[in-house]
């Protein structure tokens, strides 16, 4: 996965609660057998009208937010379907961090498999960033090492993150390779299980 250390990028405000993964990437884009090329489907129904034309009122279509790297969203971002296509699509579009008051578990977890940093801040801090993102200067700084977000006006907000997840994201580690270091433990567990629960063997 891609490492994440620090990002200085434009932030785009999306002040809606419960943005689900169906909205992030609708079903018609899930038929691929590859991870790449999903940017075209990101927020598809919000970005495009029935004729496939860009909706000018949608934030990511506005010239001021072209090239945004940070999304600021309402509560419970990423709820619903487990589709990892959601973080893939965000990243393919150029979004490397999402800031919200809360995230749904599976989406949050999927972000860490891909180097997309989900940042949880307090409601008033998210509201402040949302306000500033609507102004002239949208550039925020997200620093994983110091666990801080710096707003366009220079306000600094500290965020919490699991220390192990932080280290893996900073280094871009491969989780499977890490787990396979413990393959002897898996072998031992399986041998014990085969004796205790023989009905699960050779199904």
């Amino acid at each position: 996965m891609d490492a994440f250390t620090r990002l200085d990028a434009k932030s785009a405000p999306l002040p809606l609660a419960n943005i689900d993964t169906d909205q992030i990437i609708p079903k018609q884009f899930l038929k691929i057998i590859d991870r790449k090329g999903l940017a075209k489907g990101l927020f598809f129904d919000l970005r495009f009208d029935e004729d496939g034309k860009e909706r000018p009122d949608f934030v990511l279509n506005q010239p001021a937010y072209k090239g945004a790297g940070v999304l600021i969203a309402g509560d419970n971002f990423g709820c619903g379907s487990s589709r990892e296509h959601a973080p893939w699509a965000l990243m393919d579009f150029g979004i490397r961090s999402v800031i919200s008051t809360s995230f749904a578990d599976i989406f949050y977890n999927n972000c860490f498999q891909n180097g997309l940093l989900p940042v949880v801040l307090k409601a008033e801090e998210v509201a402040q960033l949302m306000d500033e993102a609507r102004g002239g200067n949208h550039v925020v700084s997200v620093d994983l090492e110091t666990q801080t977000v710096t707003s366009p006006s220079g306000k600094v907000f500290h965020f919490q993150i699991d220390p192990q997840r932080k280290q893996k994201m900073l280094k871009g580690l491969d989780a499977i390779g890490e787990t396979l270091i413990k393959v002897d433990s898996i072998d031992t567990y399986e041998m014990k299980r085969a004796l205790a629960q023989p009905w699960l063997e050779g199904a």
Binding site: G74, R83, I106, Q197, L200
Partner: protein
Amino acid sequence: MHRMPGKTLYDKIWDAHVVDTQDGEAILYIDLHLIHEVTTPQAFAGLRANGRPVRRPDRTLAVADHNVPTEGQGLGVDAVADEEARLQLQTLGKNVAEYGIEFFPMGDIRNGIVHVVGPEQGRTQPGMTIVCGDSHTSTHGAFGALAHGIGTSEVEHVLATQTLRQKKAKNFRVRIEGQPAPGVGAKDFALAVIGEIGTAGGTGSVIEFAGSAIRDLSMEGRMTLCNLTIEGGAKAGLVAPDQKTFDYIMGRPAAPKGGAWEMALSHWKTFFTDEDAVFDREIVLDAAKIAPTVTWGTSPEDVVAVTGNVPSPDSFETPDKRASAARALEYMGLTAGQPITEAKVDVVFIGSCTNSRIEDLRAAAQIAQTAFLNGRLVAPHVRAMVVPGSGLVRAQAEDEGLDAIFKASGFEWREPGCSMCLAMNPDKLSDGQRCASTSNRNFEGRQGRGGRTHLMSPAMAAAAAIAGHIADVRDFL
């Protein structure tokens, strides 16, 4: 002597599966890995790129469900008109053949929705850990198994290591006590719970459902309830196994046989919450107070009793929620204050991993039959479809004559799959169409772009088909 506090059901399953810990995370052994065509191609590609084998193909089972059309399945993948969907299904077929994984392809009577097939085959058993690249994996919690959805990177991790790296979640108990009114069941319980806690209310928790009303539920009802725990944001749902659970499993193809059955049974009976176990959170609901429930908006927490009215956005606490509610009303084409039964439906969908099992079909057929005997059919302007959860459910329903009741009443009787729950196949709503649906998500565009979804129980959906609008099932009993 200081005594250790008791353990919850979740604690016990967790403890029994920790292989090791690494960097503060548990490496949790996975007993059963269910896979399907949509969330696995990139995982197999990753294995191939790294030269890694599948560690336990025998603990993995594949089905074709998300993309499949609900007619012509006897032709196999040739029945799939959509080229991308066909390629995805063919890719699954190639991957399972290469890695030696058991697969029920399209047209196999055992194929169907992954969360219907696992229990039906006896693969789902108490005390197990079960994962699948699908959020509704929580369904299997009905058997007292720790079951949850994972992303594709984690699918690859499980294929390669038969483990998952996890941090423990919190213990949350939802007790539902008492006797529900006639016409009220598991779907109403689930919607009432989500309405109570919100779609993020369970975030970071595993919910154990307990209480007399849960004990009284059938296995199908428990599956419906656990299926919908993800819509309350929870990691997983659980119901402690009991005699109903064991009776359901006995004799199924993958159930333990002979002496192994007794051995398994004594193992399964260890999975319950101790009397003195402590939960991080607990709520109690009175089953008698739960009405037949439907959704009015575009989030599963947007629930209202069928006797109620569409709420006003002003009634919500935060600006975000008010904005979301206003947007939902506009999307749904509803007006604040109007009775929900005024909503006229164009389509009725009875199916999905939430409600496509035999008991669900019986409940819907009973409403259809009663109406039929009173001279009423599916309303002329309504397209009503029934999509059984698997080929075996379909066959059983046909043995019981349910298909005849549905067809005589004007319902379409289709072949199994996820179908219009997520509309990846040709079954979808068109812009502005309103649907009474037994599925699990009323998100914008979920059942087709511009489609308007109202979630409800199978009996309520059947009543809506006949009335032509959202209706109180109690008027149809």
